[in-house]
Structures are given as structure tokens and as C-alpha cells.
């Protein structure tokens, strides 16, 4: 019996002690008509060896193509110690630190993580993780409405330069509470928020403005100007940021006059593998004045009965297990293991290593754009400055080009046709520090061949 240690003697002795003749007798409170005797549709057991072989075949079938997509998930080098450490049983198989004295490891990691995120974002406090970047943006919108009591509109401006999936998730999660998420147009010439669109809303009751940095197209927004507009118009600022960029870019806490109110995003780039879509890890930090509206777990440093420093979950009066229907969020278990991976990743890279990663991202992306735009029929949609992504315009539909590249083992980017039809044949590409100059040349050669083939055809 896989993972069940009972011998026949155990079972007999245990049933005797309980006073029932058989294990089935333990289910005698369940109405007989409801019980099932078998599970057609669930296959029979395999051994670990058999499942290993099946999994290995399937994983191998998915291959290891050369990847040039970002669009919300980024391929970075993960130092070997990160997963060696987080898969230690003491981290991997522990739970939420409800018994603080037996969970000081997890709690201290949470505290260190919160310190790193708050420091990167230049905010006062961070929670100890949310599910992912998309749902973190949804929670940030809900939090802004709670925190901004003077604003009655529950209107949140979400520019269309924000990841379109994040926008859809934010709508799905906030809709029940009556939030009004309104899009804000992008300037088609710059790929940034259109200042005129924003100016047209001056003087209206806006609860918060979401500022993406870098934005979904990889473009750098004028975060200072946007933050100043929000301040002048009584709106809070929600920064949706790529955390790697914060090593070199002005952090949300220092934007405009007085900084953003809430910073959120996905910490996946810190030690979390692409893993076909998850688990990733959302982060959220804020100014101290909003801390009681922050959702999720928070670890605090305190002292024990002997005055010795120690850590415990704190401000639990915000949370569902205490406040029930009046909690800040229903969030309970979320991404503890990934939070630990992010912490260890950041400890290994440190400020110098993370800065090098950020600079390498910028350099590789600019080399990628330079190499690809030398090909006929390929041009950059927007001028820089940009971080580690860029929009390219092709002279033909993107989907068949991507298919042809995939046949050459290259994942060539993300087709923007569905989310931004007005942009025409547009392709979002990404290069992090993991792409070498040789990788970029390989991509350029393959794209050149595809473009050439199609032109001949």
C-alpha cells in the first residue's frame, strides 16, 4: 500500500481498540445509498518506476527550445543552492507557521523576504507573498479602495500598457465588489500611457492609477509624471513593477512627489522556474499608513518570554481566520515555498549581482532588437528606453512566423494580435541575461530564413 505503513496486525489491533469489526464499519454514519464501491475512470496504480518513465517521456517530448518570450514570466539563471535548500524537508514539508516556536525558520525567512521586497521597492512594509502578479494587482485594486476612504468612485485606471491577462484577472476578482476598472489608452507612437488621455480625466474622482514599470511592451513609463498627476488629482498610485528592474530603476517609493502607495508584481524572476506557468509568487508592499489594509500573511519581529528576539505572524486581525466576513481578503495558503526561493535567490545575488542581471537584460534586449530589425520586414514598434522586452512589427501575420520558428526549436515571442489588434502584426520579444549573443544570432538567422522563405512563397 503506497505510503501507508499499516501491517495486518496493526489494523486488527486498532480496530479492536476502536470496537468495530472492519474498516468499513468506520464509515457507518455515511448513508449507504451514497457510498461508492469503486472508481471507474481512475486508472490503476503504477509503481514509482513506471510513473517516472511516463513522466520522463512526456517531459522530454516538451523539449528545451530556445526561449524569447517574457510577457509576464521570465527565464533567469537560478543559482543551484536555491532549490537544493527549499526542497529540504524542513522547508518543503512544513506549513504556515501557526506554532511560531516550532517555525522560526519559516518566519525568519518571511521577515527577510519582506525586508528585501520593501527595500527593493523603497516601501515601508511588504507582506509575505500573494499568489502571483496578476492576482496581486487585483488585491492591490481592492486594497486601494479600502485605503482611500475619501474617494467614493471605486474607479481604478488600469492603462492598456498593463499586462492584458493581469487586467482580465483584476476584473474577474474585483467585479463582485463593484470596482470599476477603466482602461487608459496607450500612445501608439511611444508605447506608453498617453498623457493626453490622462489629462482628460483631471479633476474627476479616481481612486487609484495603476502605473506599470516597465510596461507590458517593455517600455519605461514616466513614473514620476504619472505619480505627480495622481497626487494632484487625489488618486492613489499602484505600482505594478518587474522586481529585477528595481535593481537599476527608480523604485516606486521614490516616484513623483512622495512615491507610490502600493507596489505589486510577480517575484517569479527571483529563483522561480518557468515551470509551464506556475507556481509563481506575487508580492505586495505599501506605505506604513496602509499596513492594516494589506492582505496576506505578515511576519513580525518581537521578543520571547526571556526577552530574546524571535518572529511570529502579526496583524492577524486583518485575516480571514480572525475577521471572517470582514477580512481584508480571503487569502490563506499561498506561495510560501516560492517566497523562500525568492529570498535565497536575492541573498545569493545581492545588490551587485542583481544589478548585473538587470543590466544584462537591458543589454541583451537591445542587441536582440538591433539584430532582428536588421532583417527586411522587421522594425521596432517604439523607440526606447526599454527594459527586457520590445515590440517588433513584422510585415506579415505573426502566428505562422512563430510556428515556423518553433519548428526550428525557437520560441520566438508573444503574438500581440489577439490582445492589441490595432497594433497590426506585432510581436513581443524578450531577452534576459540567459540569452547569449550566439542565441541572438541563432534567432536572427532563423527569422531571416523564415522571412525569406515567406517572401519567395
Amino acid at each position: 500500500m503506497p505510503y501507508i505503513p499499516h501491517t495486518q496486525d496493526d489494523v486488527r489491533a486498532m480496530l479492536d481498540r476502536i470496537g468495530v469489526p472492519s474498516i468499513d464499519g468506520l464509515f457507518d454514519e455515511i448513508p449507504v445509498a451514497l457510498r461508492v464501491e469503486s472508481l471507474p475512470g481512475v486508472p490503476d496504480a503504477l509503481t514509482e518506476m513506471e510513473v517516472s518513465r511516463l513522466a520522463a517521456q512526456r517531459a522530454a517530448a516538451d523539449g528545451s527550445p530556445l526561449n524569447f518570450i517574457g510577457a509576464g514570466a521570465y527565464e533567469h539563471h537560478i543559482p543551484a543552492p536555491v532549490w537544493a535548500l527549499v526542497t529540504r524537508g524542513e522547508i518543503y514539508s512544513a506549513y504556515t507557521p501557526y506554532q511560531a516556536e516550532a517555525s522560526q525558520g519559516t518566519l525568519q525567512i518571511m521577515y527577510e523576504y519582506q525586508s528585501m521586497i520593501a527595500g527593493l521597492a523603497a516601501m515601508d512594509v511588504s507582506n509575505a507573498s500573494l499568489y502571483d502578479g496578476a492576482s496581486a494587482l487585483a488585491e492591490a485594486c481592492l486594497m486601494a479602495v479600502r485605503a482611500h476612504r475619501r474617494s467614493k468612485s471605486a474607479r481604478i485606471l488600469v492603462p492598456d500598457t498593463v499586462n492584458p491577462v493581469w487586467r482580465r484577472v483584476a476584473s474577474a476578482i474585483t467585479e463582485g465588489q463593484g470596482l470599476r476598472l477603466e482602461t487608459l489608452a496607450c500612445d501608439p507612437a511611444t508605447g506608453r500611457i498617453d498623457p493626453a488621455a490622462l489629462a482628460a480625466l483631471s479633476g474627476e474622482d479616481i481612486t487609484a492609477l495603476v502605473v506599470p514599470q516597465p510596461n507590458f511592451f517593455g517600455q519605461l513609463e514616466d513614473a514620476d509624471a504619472l505619480t505627480r498627476w495622481a497626487r494632484a488629482n487625489g488618486a492613489l498610485v499602484i505600482a505594478a513593477v518587474n522586481p529585477v528592474s528595481l535593481a537599476v530603476m527608480k523604485p516606486p517609493g521614490e516616484w513623483g512627489d512622495g512615491g507610490a502607495d502600493i507596489a505589486c508584481g510577480d517575484a517569479q524572476p527571483f529563483g522561480v522556474p518557468l515551470s509551464s506557468g506556475g507556481p509563481y509568487v506575487g508580492f505586495m508592499a505599501c506605505r506604513m499608513e496602509h499596513v492594516r489594509q494589506l492582505p496576506g500573511r505578515i511576519a513580525g519581529r518581537t521578543v520571547d518570554a526571556e526577552g530574546k528576539p524571535g518572529f511570529t505572524l502579526t496583524l492577524q486581525a486583518r485575516e480571514q481566520h480572525i475577521r471572517r466576513a470582514k477580512a481584508t481578503s480571503n487569502i490563506c495558503t499561498n506561495q510560501g515555498l516560492l517566497m523562500s526561493a525568492a529570498t535565497i535567490h536575492l541573498a545569493l545575488l545581492g545588490p551587485a549581482g542583481l544589478e548585473r542581471v538587470a543590466r544584462a537584460c537591458i543589454a541583451r534586449t537591445s542587441e536582440l532588437v538591433a539584430a532582428l530589425t536588421q532583417l527586411p520586414g522587421v522594425r521596432a514598434a517604439f523607440p526606447g528606453p526599454r527594459f527586457h522586452e520590445a515590440v517588433l512589427k513584422l510585415d506579415r501575420p505573426v502566428a505562422p512566423v512563430l510556428e515556423a520558428l518553433a519548428a526550428d526549436g525557437i520560441i520566438g515571442g508573444f503574438d500581440l494580435a489577439r490582445d492589441y489588434p490595432a497594433m497590426g502584426d506585432a510581436l513581443l520579444v524578450c531577452a534576459t541575461e540567459t540569452r547569449t549573443r550566439a542565441d541572438i544570432e541563432t534567432y536572427a538567422r532563423a527569422l531571416g530564413a523564415v522571412q525569406g522563405r515567406a517572401a519567395v512563397a
Partner: protein, 490 residues
């Protein structure tokens, strides 16, 4: 190995100019980032060597209890063995390195696993369709209530704005209802642990959107009149939501779909043994009956002939939408797939059988030893409640004192003070992967602690004594908030 030696903060180990330089890429210029957009100075991250980081986090891990190190009978959390194979196989390079937007052509392997997982979960719960995208139980609950809301709306039944929740429910249930814009109506539980049917009937109205139930309940007993409850709720026009927190207790023995539930979430990190990770990642896959099929959150894996593809908003236009940036916690889903394939159909049933055997054995032994089960006339599910109200009254020691002293005996404490209706309670869930000897040892520890309470109550009140820290000052933690290390500025 638990040690009492304190470990400094990683920031306190930092020295300017030190670093794990093998991890650094080559230096590059900062390109065309305008000066006004740049960060002034470096972020306050630690500067440590690779060995320092490895040693620091290894030592921190040693301050934790985990399933791999200790019996961890945390009620309602299903802390069973997380097979190592699940982790090893989910981390195979083809799965791990794959970008989620890479396209179906390069994702047939992972999608085959996810499709099989959807199918197995459907059959084991008796539902018509499954979406794997919710990232934890609470998000599964959100998806469920949002689907109930969408269903009523689509029928023009706009007055249905109330969710009924028993007082024994997890806090996430009422919190979820609020997040979905619903009003919560709480109903009481009878002394025998079942829902108060008269109170339910009184609560049902044309405003009823649905009811959220955990069965077996958080009181550790099976709701015997579930068929009657389902009938009454359906007759009133409401739908039934099944909170899968306790699915382990009935896996393969009775299915929520057969009980009359319309929608269910499963906690894959409980029932299907994916790791708890110090607080996640979870996975809150949802299953629905026929009438909620159109509203499932996207994406869902579809199969067309021999090919798999993601079904999205275009395929399910009435979907409640997306809840995650991609397709949920895929790595967790792969671990659950491995677990279910290794257990197979018969193994599913054994989960319920042996977790229930262990719980009833432990309850019987504790009752013999003079502890008071809160629902002694009832059969335990996979967990049960002991109330220490007599010990509190006669000896002046609380459930929390017992919990803390258990740590000194090498056992993680059960869930304390939940559910809220039972005074001085311990909610104890041993799971099926524990040996009889381990359960016996736990009984002996509780007996020894009670004996100590009779002779030296101060030992309990000041416990734990052998942990890295003594009892922590939670009031100070909240009042003198210290939640982030700050660099010392000159």
C-alpha cells in the same frame, strides 16, 4: 535538528563588497535608461558569500518542524507524507524550463498530465467538469461562489445575494462570500455536530444564492442529513458549494457530486499530498456539475483527437474568467498527477480508509486515557476534536499550554482554538501515513503532559522549553510593528 542557537538576520552577515560572484553575469552598461529613471544607490540587499547563504538558510530550516522531521497532526491541514517522487518528476527539465506561452506544440507532454489530472479529479469527486487554475483553496472557493453568482445572473435571478455558512466553517468561507459581493448568513450547529436543519430552513429564502459546506465538517463528523440539506437548498433555488478541506476523509468512498453538491474545490496540497511549503503553494482545483459547466474559470485543458490545447474565453464565453496570470500552479498540479498515478483507484480509497482508521484509533485511545472527545457519540472522520475544558477548569491549563508543551515532546501541535464553537479545543488529524507507534507515542505525550499539569502546571504555562525561542510576545509584535529590517543610516 532543532537548536536553541539563534541565527542572525542575513543582513547582519553582510559585508560591503562580498558576494556569491559565481552567480553574477558579466558587467554591462546601463544603456539608454534616462538618468531621471535610474535608482540612486544600490537596493539594501545582503552581501554574503555563497557558503554564508547556504549555511544561513540550512540553519534556518533546522529551526522548523516539518512532516519529514516530526508528527504534524494539524487538524484540517492533512499533513501527510509528500512523496519525493512527486517533486523529482515535476522538476524534470522539459516541464520546468517550459514557458507557459510557448504554444501547444511544445506542451503536449505537460498537457497530457494535466488533462489526466482533470479527468481523475472529476471521477473521484463525481463532478462533470474540472478547472485546475485556482491557486489555493481560498481561490477555489472564490471561483465556486463566483460561478454560483454567474449562474443566478444568467437566469435573471438577480435577488440571490446571500450565502449560508455554518458557524463551524473555515474563515475563508465567509471571507470568500464577501469578496464575491455576497452577504453571509451564518447558521448554528446542533450539539451532535450536524447542521441545524430548522435554522437552515429559516435561513433559506428567495435571496439564497447557495450554501457552503464542509463534509465531513470541521468538527470531524460526517453530515448525516446531507441529502435532505441538498434537497432543501435546491428547492429554495440555491446551489451547494463543497469545501474540499476534508476530502481526504471520504476519498473514493463517497463523492460530493453524489451528495448533491453543485460545485467543489479540492485542496491538492492536502488530499493529493503536494507540499505545504511553509504556507503554499496550494492548488484549489474546482469541479462543477452540469449546470455550472459554462462558468468554469479558464484556461481548461481540452483534448481534440490525440492533441491537447488550452480552452480559453473563446471556448467558454460565459466563464467567470481568469484567476491567475497563466494556468494556475502547474508544478503543483504535476505533483498531484504523480501522486494519483502512483496510488491509483484502490489507493484513493485507502487514503480515506486508513486516515479514518488512524483518527478513530487515536480518538479511542485518548478517550480511554481520560481525554474528552467533543463529539464522543459520533464516529470520527479523518480528524476529531478533543476539548480540554475540564483540564482548564480543574488544573488551570489551556489548550494552548498543551499545544506548546507538545512541541517539547517532539510533536507539532494540533490545530488549536478552531473550530470556534468548541472551548479549549485541539483539532487532531493524524493522516493515513503515520504508524500506530507514532500515534501511541502521541497519546503517551498527552498523558504525560496532563500528569505534569497536575503536579507542575508552571511547566506547561511557560512551555515550550526546548524550542529555539520561548513563547513569543504577540501583543508587542502587533503594537511595536517590526516587519522589515532597515539599514542603519549614518
Amino acid at each position: 535538528m532543532i537548536t536553541r542557537k539563534p541565527e542572525p538576520l542575513i543582513f547582519e552577515l553582510s559585508r560591503a563588497g562580498r558576494g556569491a560572484t559565481a552567480q553574477y553575469p558579466a558587467a554591462e552598461p546601463l544603456g539608454d535608461v534616462p538618468p531621471g529613471f535610474r535608482r540612486r544607490g544600490q537596493p539594501p540587499l545582503p552581501e554574503v558569500s555563497e557558503l554564508q547563504a547556504v549555511r544561513h538558510y540550512t540553519r534556518l530550516s533546522q529551526l522548523n518542524f516539518g512532516i519529514d522531521t516530526h508528527f504534524y497532526p494539524l487538524g484540517s491541514c492533512t499533513m501527510k507524507y509528500n512523496p519525493r517522487a512527486c517533486n523529482a518528476l515535476a522538476m524534470l527539465p522539459g516541464f520546468l524550463g517550459r514557458h507557459p506561452l510557448a504554444g501547444a506544440a511544445t506542451g503536449q507532454g505537460v498537457m497530457a498530465c494535466l488533462f489526466e489530472l482533470q479527468e481523475m479529479l472529476k471521477h473521484v469527486t463525481g463532478m462533470a467538469g474540472v478547472s485546475l487554475t485556482p491557486m489555493a483553496g481560498a481561490q477555489g472557493e472564490f471561483a465556486g461562489v463566483a460561478m454560483i453568482r454567474a449562474y443566478h445572473r444568467a437566469r435573471g435571478d438577480l435577488a440571490r445575494s446571500e450565502i449560508i455558512v455554518p458557524d463551524a466553517a473555515h474563515g475563508t468561507n465567509p471571507a470568500t462570500a464577501t469578496m464575491c459581493g455576497m452577504k453571509v448568513r451564518e447558521i448554528p450547529t446542533l450539539p451532535d455536530g450536524d447542521v441545524d436543519l430548522a435554522a437552515l430552513e429559516a435561513a433559506l429564502s428567495p435571496a439564497t444564492a447557495g450554501i457552503m459546506l464542509t463534509n465531513p465538517s470541521t468538527l470531524g463528523v460526517f453530515e448525516r442529513r446531507i441529502v435532505e440539506i441538498a434537497r432543501k437548498v435546491h428547492e429554495a433555488g440555491g446551489l451547494l458549494y463543497y469545501d474540499g478541506a476534508n476530502l481526504n476523509a471520504i476519498l473514493g468512498k463517497v463523492r460530493p457530486g453524489d451528495m448533491g453538491f453543485d460545485v467543489i474545490h479540492m485542496n491538492l496540497h492536502k488530499t493529493f499530498s503536494t507540499p505545504h511549503g511553509g504556507g503554499g503553494p496550494g492548488s484549489g482545483a474546482v469541479g462543477v456539475g452540469q449546470r455550472l459547466l459554462p462558468y468554469l474559470p479558464v484556461p481548461v485543458v481540452g483534448r481534440e483527437g490525440e492533441r491537447y490545447r488550452w480552452l480559453d474565453e473563446r471556448d467558454l464565453p460565459d466563464s467567470i474568467g481568469r484567476l491567475s496570470g497563466f494556468m494556475g500552479n502547474t508544478g503543483v498540479l504535476l505533483r498531484a498527477w504523480v501522486y494519483m498515478r502512483i496510488l491509483g483507484a484502490a489507493g484513493m480509497r485507502r487514503v480515506a480508509e486508513y486516515s479514518t482508521l488512524n483518527a478513530n484509533y487515536l480518538m479511542a485511545r485518548l478517550a480511554e486515557a481520560g481525554f474528552e472527545p467533543a463529539y464522543s457519540g459520533r464516529r470520527a472522520s479523518h480528524e476529531f476534536i478533543v476539548t480540554l475544558k475540564r483540564e482548564a477548569r480543574e488544573l488551570g491549563v489551556t489548550a494552548m499550554d498543551f499545544a506548546k508543551r507538545l512541541l517539547d515532546h517532539g510533536y507539532h501541535a494540533p490545530t488549536t482554538y478552531f473550530p470556534l464553537l468548541v472551548p479549549e479545543c485541539l483539532l487532531i488529524e493524524p493522516t493515513e501515513t503515520e504508524t500506530r507507534e507514532e500515534l501511541d507515542g502521541f497519546v503517551e505525550a498527552l498523558v504525560a503532559i496532563r500528569r505534569e499539569a497536575e503536579t507542575d502546571a508552571a511547566m506547561l504555562k511557560s512551555a515550550p522549553h526546548t524550542m529555539p525561542v520561548r513563547r513569543l510576545d504577540d501583543v508587542r509584535a502587533a503594537r511595536q510593528l517590526d516587519v522589515a529590517w532597515k539599514p542603519v543610516t549614518a
